[in-house]
Symmetry: C2
Subunit: 449 residues, 2 copies
């Protein structure tokens, strides 16, 4: 886990203190923009600004813009001259510009767009009209599109003259006179086929494409499923308007996995890079409120059994283990389901077989741990009915938890609510309440108190 | 979330019942192997076998081998003729063969290797010697390596004649006479440079490479960080031995995210595709045992305060809310830390600033919810000291939980234990115990019972 950047950060800080600009410039320009973003995260905005101005290559500045954390980027851009920002944006790939402008306050992004060259700003505005999370929102409009009677040789010539701004031209798309996508070929096919062979003779006509309004997660799954390096994006009339490349797909998967994990833990949109304690606190407050309400409900339930408790105080001692066993198996079930849905391994049509399987697991484990914990209760208190109540409560709590933990995310997915978002607090809190209720109901009945 | 494969599965099942082989063959050969693996998952092994034999293209059979779930693959291969399996393996990329053989029982994989052509089986055995999770274990030995005085034209000719088995030849690697990696070029540079230009004139000498023993997660992070399509793998003497391609990197990220989530939920290696209830139960048993032991410890702690409980039975009513609030904030903190470490956004050197930040959040939220829950207690029982005990217990439980939730994964990462594996059960259980202990200690002291 140790990070080679740590040593680099230390020497950069030392050089900054010594004002050793020549040395700094050398280091900065040898370091990849992706690593610079990590280094910037450890520096004050004044130091960030000094380093930023030492970067020689304008394209590198652009990559750094894309790579910086949200907070770092906003701080830095506030200190930069607007004209410099515009120059950098013009040197960046259009989809990256749309990305960063989408993260800025509207007045700032508007003034940047106004100052950009008309052709560039129109492309960016074209992208900004799509939903951020859709294929249109993540695609780049820079791709290679050719007509089907172009020869391999002409394709190569066209790549040498035009299309030099295309980021990753491993696929060549073939379009008809109206811009409709009709085929795909690869750089590889271009070099292995004879120079005067026409695209239509070796192109693949069975092209996998996505629509502009497809959700980015679906797009990512398609790229992953078919092991392709880019997927073409078409509008509703099958006109090719952009491509989504595999590097963006990796980012989508990583971000989605992070978001799912945080949502399931009830930490909403809090990322580790959120620097402010106040912001983090605010993000966690509502989720904890749900669990607080649940806790208060459990408290009123137990309050109703106060009389029984004052007769057999030992009843209280089993509350944690019953809640804990239910809560844990519920988390296991819901995590497996949420992740299964996210990776496409689980289909919402499989609801019943899945829930029955989970319920069986809950029952088996409930019997195992019910007997175990009941035995401990019997040894400690030598009251058979108390031991039986505890055993039964563990069994009920664990089977209900497995049922709720698997059923709730499946039902949410069916009605198109993100299963990750409601699973954590909802499942945990309801299992807590159900467990406590079952336990006291069973105990008071069996013990006759 | 609805799956277009569902309709396909239904019609295939219908055709299988009708023995409509001609029709089936047409559908099967038009369907991508990745989709076939999903379809196979819904079928009996007899039906899987029938469909498999209808596949015309041997390479497609190979992709299907790689795509099938572990259980489905083992079932299917048990029914196939060994000679057919060997033929399919010989048509597959070497890294994929090593992958699937690694998943088979040793005697079966040995007999396959013995029957394969010597050249192929040696390559596979070369890969099998590396750790599954290392760069060596995931690389493919099929890549394009050329000498630095080759011209662009000669490169293209060589691609047309040889290297036709290379999966994704977007990068050309340049090696010296001993096979040492000295540079890299791309297919794109090949076509945009004049035909008689030599590789050494336009190759990049600053090549990012990884060592065979590097952990696959680190390899994946490098590919993602630098937005490259493949990374060359070298041995300890810098000899180029393979490449890791971006499609494998996507799989690594998705698998690692799934594993981390399941580990954190204490569901170990259980995936949704684990069909057997018994296997799932066995996988969850040990993790639940940890939480059971924790629950029993809490039970003995509360048992010690039985006298106080019989005096004020209402004490029991607050156990769930105090445990719940602590448990939830602890899960939030540990999830943020574990994911931050996994994505590289968090560095183990940041331990103290992070823990202090989490502790501050715990204190603030502890005060907020302590006052809230204390007020409810006061309204219900009108006993100031009871309300104060509950408030203080919530405050202590939440701050300690935030501290433990952030500190434990950081410490585990420092001693090179996977933070995800121990976070879930360890953090939850210890927070439960600490919460209960604090609560009863504070309450008995303040209430003088």
């Amino acid at each position: 886990m140790s990070d080679p950047n740590t040593i680099l950060i230390e020497s950069i800080k030392r050089l900054l203190r010594r004002d050793a600009d020549i040395h700094l410039r050398k280091i900065i320009n040898k370091t990849h923009a992706a690593d610079l973003s990590v280094i910037f995260h450890s520096l004050s905005v004044t130091h960030q600004l000094r380093l930023f101005n030492l970067i020689g290559d304008i394209e590198k500045k652009g990559i750094l813009f894309s790579e910086l954390d949200q907070d770092d980027f906003q701080d830095l851009i506030g200190k930069l001259d607007l004209d410099d920002v515009v120059d950098i944006c013009e040197a960046m790939p259009t989809d990256d510009v749309a990305d960063i402008l989408g993260r800025l306050p509207e007045d700032l992004s508007d003034s940047i767009l106004q100052k950009m060259e008309k052709e560039d700003s129109e492309e960016v505005e074209g992208l900004l009209q799509f939903d951020d999370d859709s294929a249109g929102g993540i695609m780049t409009p820079e791709f290679v599109a050719l007509r089907e009677d172009t020869t391999a040789k002409e394709c190569i010539e066209s790549l040498q003259k035009e299309h030099l701004d295309v980021e990753m031209p491993f696929y060549l798309y073939i379009v008809d006179e109206y811009g409709h996508l009709t085929g795909v070929s690869s750089l590889r096919q271009l070099v292995v086929n004879p120079p005067n062979q026409k695209l239509k003779d070796f192109m693949t006509t069975d092209v996998i494409s996505v629509r502009t309004d497809m959700d980015q997660e679906e797009v990512a799954k398609i790229v992953a499923r078919y092991d392709i390096l880019a997927v073409p994006v078409v509008d509703s009339t099958n006109v090719l308007v952009g491509i989504v490349t595999v590097d963006d797909v990796i980012d989508i998967f990583r971000r989605e996995a992070t978001e799912d994990m945080l949502k399931m833990a009830g930490a909403g949109e809090e990322f580790v890079e959120t620097k402010s304690v106040i912001k983090s606190t605010r993000l966690r407050l509502p989720w904890l409120f749900a669990s607080c309400i649940g806790g208060i409900m459990a408290f009123f339930i137990i309050g109703n059994f106060e009389q029984s408790l004052s007769k057999i105080a030992a009843l209280a001692a089993f509350i944690p283990v019953i809640m804990g066993m239910g809560g844990n198996i519920g988390t296991q079930s819901s995590t497996i389901v949420v992740r299964g849905l996210a990776t496409g391994r689980l289909n919402i049509n499989d609801t019943w077989p899945l829930v029955i399987k989970e319920l069986s697991i809950g029952l088996i484990l409930g019997i195992v741990y019910g007997v175990l914990i009941g035995t401990v209760a019997q040894i400690k208190y030598d009251t058979l009915m108390l031991a039986c109540s505890v055993s039964l409560a563990v069994l009920c709590s664990m089977s209900v938890a497995a049922l709720v933990g698997s059923l709730v995310p499946m039902l949410l997915a069916r009605v198109n609510i993100d299963p990750a978002i409601a699973t954590g607090p909802f499942v945990t809190t309801s299992i807590d309440i159900i467990s406590v209720l079952f336990y006291f109901q069973i105990a008071t009945t069996l013990l006759g108190i």
